[in-house]
Amino acid sequence: MEDKSKKYMNPYIAGVLLGFVIMAAFFFSGEGIGGSGAFKDIVKTTVIDLAPKYAENSNYFKSAVEANESPMKSWLIFEVLGVLIGAAISAAFAGRLKLKIEHSPKISSKTRIIFAILGGALFGIGSQLGRGCTSGAGLSGMAVMSVSGFLVVVAIFGSGYLFAWFFRKLWI
């Protein structure tokens, strides 16, 4: 335990580095970083390929159909691919590359997986409604000092603290 936490970077240094990554994204492409947008593009591509008729008539997919360019060629898809590579490299060097299901000792692996899927689904819905997730809307939004960035962060963490007590068994 004592060594394990040491292996992680000082959070402030990590934060500064992350800040520079965000700056670089804006500097080179004028884009913010993000996470959930890539999944949106995957969903769009899947639906358009499998059910083109449905996609044409759906308000949600219409714009992507009309754009006539594969949503897979988007900034965020490539960025998320990069995240996979970068995280794998870092974990490999730190010796943290290991297949496992992480959960509190009080719950079973199965419970953890069910709640992870549930949480993911809620995050998927919420990120579409709120136009971005913690990193895309929150972090990038705060970097450009946008009201929506601060708002979404306050809402996510506020609601997190609100619900934390009810689900404490999941974690502690």
């Binding site: 990590a14 500097f27 080179f28 899927i117 919420g126 136009r131 929506s148 609100l162």
Partner: protein, 196 residues
């Protein structure tokens, strides 16, 4: 004049990949690939999320202003989200619940998948399912509500009536206060570390 590449440039995709690699590397180094560390912020045993998150936002907002000050970055060409009050708040609340249940957010879950966390993979599957659900119920449930509370491309400085620079200074002071506070909370209440 930055942004260096036009939005339509193919170079952007290569840049995106490189930015992503750096992003993933930092997230992993900071310990964001473990859900129990992330969830710690809500139970007071690990505030690393708040520290990294706000340090990053402060660094980036300060840095972007400096780039603008030196005439390197043209803010009019930079992504700037429109603020939709109600849909953002409700979306955020749903995401907060998702955070507590799942222990990740989309960016960190991708990072965790790369390091071999099966629960993160489940989370990623969940996100995709969630978006499928959203897209199929879009017309019935979300389409109108999504546009609620549009107040335009408002910046926090404009909202409270100060210049962009002053707003960033306030943000810095607020961040430093928050860092001090979370350390104090942990010490004061003597919250024990959780093993993970």
């Amino acid at each position: 004049m930055a942004p260096i590449f036009e939005q339509t440039s193919e170079w952007n995709l290569i840049i995106a990949l490189l930015i992503g690699i750096a992003f993933g590397w930092v997230l992993e180094r900071a310990g964001f690939s473990t859900s129990r560390k992330l969830a710690g912020v809500f139970y007071g045993y690990d505030f690393v999320v708040i520290k990294v998150f706000f340090t990053a936002a402060i660094t980036a907002s300060l840095g972007l202003l400096f780039l603008n000050y030196f005439g390197v970055l043209d803010f009019s060409k930079v992504w700037m989200p429109t603020t939709f009050l109600w849909s953002t708040i409700v979306g955020g609340i749903i995401m907060g619940l998702g955070f507590i249940l799942g222990g990740f957010c989309p960016g960190t879950s991708v990072c965790a998948v790369a390091t071999g966390k099966i629960d993160a993979l489940a989370f990623v599957v969940g996100i995709t399912l969630g978006i499928f659900f959203y897209s199929f119920t879009y017309e019935y449930l979300w389409e109108d509500f999504r546009e609620y509370g549009n107040i335009g491309n408002v910046k926090i400085g404009e909202l409270i009536g100060v210049t962009e620079g002053v707003a960033v200074l306030i943000f810095i002071l607020f961040g430093l206060f928050a860092f001090w506070l979370v350390d104090k909370i942990k010490k004061e209440y003597n919250i024990k570390d959780v093993e993970y």
